[in-house]
């Protein structure tokens, strides 16, 4: 049981990491992140990068759907706009990564604002349909605007350079990806407790009441769209550098749905939920596949039988989560923390 935790200043009361224990473990976590690229193999580094990109993008969708309640089926399209912006800038004009990342975010945000404009009039399923249309239009544009997107063959992206160092491998990209992800999460955590962030939540919970309180619905919704797609655009740009190629096939509707699953499994309307969701949805299929491959020495054809089974298990896990943890992994996390905080007087 943690005792003697008094807040003596306003600053202490407003801190994101409020207790020494939390600060300690956060420190340990970041230390582990820092050491990771020096000890992990290529495969784990690759997965870590993938998780990082997913965290950024999921954070964006969570701001839009989880915090503001604007459901979006166009998240993959926003990522795509960012990825193509970065790829086009980098491959044509050799733009450096510190230019392409914000530019990608900006382009995606602009697209997001256009897509989000109907949100003033329509909500819920209808908005889902409108964003779905954006997804379809974007996919069409990726394929057919050959002058910019390179058509179906896509764009080969040169390795980015940062401070004169070429970031050609997953290991080299790990640093920038983790840094951007940390920045994105930190920004969202702060946004959550500021006036604009609370306006998001107010709009989600009851839009009429929010308007009565003086919140401009249109501005707030558009801000959420812009912010959500900015995150997606930045994630898309990192994806482009990570895969070193962008093609229309990278951003299908199924990816948009995947991201919705990420934020729902992680926890709608929570910051840590985006992180947990990204980790869960990226790593669990890999872990399941890894477990299946354990059978290989004993039964060489095991993977043929077990691979479809892993998909089933993964699906069942998601359904199980929705049934037993409707608030997602973030809620599990809260409970775990509470357990340790109250230990041994939990009842």
């Amino acid at each position: 049981m943690r005792i003697g935790d008094f807040k003596e200043t306003y600053a202490a009361d407003e801190a994101i990491l409020r207790t020494p224990t939390v600060r300690f473990w956060t420190g340990v976590f970041f230390a582990a992140l820092a050491v990771f690229p020096f000890v992990a193999g290529d495969y784990l580094i690759y997965l870590a990068d993938l998780v990082g990109i997913t965290v950024i993008s999921a954070m964006g969708l969570n701001l839009l759907t989880g915090f503001t309640g604007q459901i979006s089926l166009g998240h993959a399209a926003f990522m795509g706009v960012g990825a193509y912006t970065a790829a086009a800038l980098a491959s044509r004009w050799g733009a450096p990564i510190w230019v392409t990342l914000p530019a990608a975010g900006g382009a995606a945000a602009l697209f997001g604002v256009v897509v989000g404009a109907p949100s003033l009039r329509i909500k819920g399923l209808y908005l889902a349909m409108a964003t779905l249309a954006a997804q379809v239009i974007a996919e069409f544009a990726f394929i057919n605007l050959e002058g910019i997107t390179g058509g179906i063959r896509g764009i080969n992206v040169p390795a980015p350079r940062l401070f004169g160092v070429e970031l050609a491998t997953d290991r080299a990209l790990y640093g920038p990806i983790v840094a951007v992800a940390a920045l994105g999460v930190w920004f969202a955590a702060n946004l959550k407790r500021s006036a604009p962030g609370r306006a998001f939540v107010a709009v989600r919970d009851r839009d009429i009441s929010a308007e009565l309180m003086g919140i401009s619905l249109f501005q707030t919704k558009l801000r959420a769209f812009a912010l959500g797609s900015f995150y997606a655009g930045v994630a898309g740009a990192l994806w482009a550098y990570f895969m070193r190629i962008v093609t229309p096939e990278h951003f299908p509707l199924s990816l948009s749905i995947h991201y919705l699953a990420v934020v729902i499994v992680g926890g709608l309307g929570t910051v840590v939920g985006s992180v947990f969701g990204a980790v869960f949805m990226t790593l669990v299929p890999e872990v399941l596949r890894g477990l299946a491959s354990l059978a290989r020495p004993y039964y060489p054809q095991a993977m043929t039988v077990l691979s479809p089974l892993t998909e089933v298990v993964f699906g069942a896990l998601i359904v199980g989560f929705l049934l037993f943890e409707p608030h997602g992994l973030a809620e599990v996390w809260q409970r775990t923390k509470r357990f340790f905080r109250l230990w041994p007087f939990v009842h």
């Binding site: 495969y43 690759y46 179906i152 299929p285 890894g290 491959s293 479809p308």
Partner: protein, 389 residues
């Protein structure tokens, strides 16, 4: 917390799997689309590749060395597939790899060329990948889609159906569909074949009325269909038949499996297309006999194997052949030497599965035109092997 536990679990899995396998085997890794929307072919391709390597091992291996085949499911998703590639490369260090898609080939190319350097074959017949300058370690196990359409156009040019030969291209708006089209236009011009229509459609489109009307209006002698596996090919063929138009539909590799004959039934009569390998029911072909004997022994309940299985089998033969050439010349088995071996292959006898094989630009530009025989429910050859050179 959870993250750490997952990483720990991953590490444990990695360590446990890494210890398997003997030292002097030749390792072939694979990311196979065993689930996802390409699974219908992926499962067969995987089986074909696994069976070919097992068959070679049964015969004593490559110069006495056994081949070990390590595959995992990649679900036809590029990020998963790259993960599988990296995982298998890290755990097993194979010298040859088989990939699930064109997308994977393109995504791993920078690292394949710089870091991994392994001989890379795949399910893809993309003409983009058959480019030794940009993809020095990649080969295509047969003709590219461009070559396939080239072969079909050669056939069209030689067999006009009244007057100057005319053709329509009917393709999907995917990478797969659009890949050979620029080449096809050029080739048609060279051969003096008139392209009277080009129709682009979505994969799986249901309503194809406007496409059918376009074909009825332009009356091409042949329609080359590419970039679909099944739908909307049956709808289009039926639609055109309903208008009483006597046009010949021709497909490329993926739409030349038994599935299309079964699906079309009576309407399959006259459907044609290119296949680069002999079919499983061509029992006079020695390699098909080997294949059938192997299947009778190991998979006694299997009656038929589609052409995707044969693609996998053939690729297995290519992997083994490259390793054999290396061992014959006393080269160590590395990616670079395997590529050198691949390029040195001349008129290699593959037991009639294909005509004697020589790789040109890491592909084999050869194929044969087949026609569906509804009575026999199978494809019968209507041309000799056509080689584009």
């Amino acid at each position: 917390m959870i993250r750490k536990r997952l990483v720990a679990a991953l590490l444990a899995v990695g360590c446990a799997a890494g210890t398997a396998g003997a030292a002097d085997t030749i390792k072939v890794g694979a990311a196979q689309p065993l689930t996802g929307r390409f699974a219908f072919a992926g499962v067969q391709i995987n089986q074909g590749l696994a069976d070919a390597l097992a068959w070679i091992n049964e015969k004593g291996g490559v110069k006495g060395r056994k081949i070990e085949y390590i595959f995992e499911d990649s679900g036809y998703q590029v990020d998963k597939a790259v993960a599988v590639f990296k995982k298998i490369m890290a755990e097993h260090k194979p010298v040859m790899f088989y990939g699930e898609s064109t997308g994977l080939g393109k995504a791993i190319a920078p690292e394949l060329n710089k870091t991994y350097k392994v001989l890379y074959g795949s399910t893809s017949f993309s003409s983009e990948l058959a480019d030794p300058k940009r993809y020095p370690y990649t080969f295509v196990s047969g003709p590219t889609y461009s070559d396939m359409i080239g072969v079909l156009l050669e056939y069209v040019a030689q067999n006009p159906r009244g007057g100057k030969p005319t053709v329509a291209f009917f393709y999907s708006d995917t990478e797969f569909g659009k890949d050979p089209i620029p080449y096809a236009r050029k080739k048609a011009k060279e051969l003096g074949v008139d392209v009277v229509a080009e129709i682009v459609t979505k994969v799986g489109a249901v309503d194809v009325t406007s496409e059918v009307l376009e074909l009825v209006k332009k009356k091409p002698q042949y329609v080359i269909v590419h970039g679909f596996v099944l739908s909307p090919i049956p709808q289009v063929i039926r639609g055109v038949r309903d208008y009483g138009l006597d046009t010949r539909f021709m497909g490329t590799f993926w739409s030349m499996s038994q599935m299309i004959i079964d699906k079309l039934g009576e309407d399959a009569e006259g459907y044609m297309g290119i296949n680069p390998y002999a079919y499983y029911y061509e029992t006079d072909v020695p390699m098909i006999q080997n294949m059938r004997a192997f299947n009778a022994k190991h998979h006694p309940d299997v009656k038929h194997r589609p052409n995707s299985y044969i693609q996998g089998w053939f690729t297995g033969l290519v992997f083994a052949k490259c390793a054999e050439v290396c061992l014959e010349n006393g080269w160590s088995i590395t990616g670079d030497n395997l590529v050198k071996a691949l390029e040195s292959i001349r008129d290699w006898d593959v037991g009639g599965l294909m005509p004697p094989v020589t790789f040109v630009d890491h592909k084999i530009p050869v194929g044969r035109v087949y026609r569906a025989d509804v009575q026999k429910k199978r494809f019968v050859p209507v041309s000799d092997w056509i080689r584009l050179d």
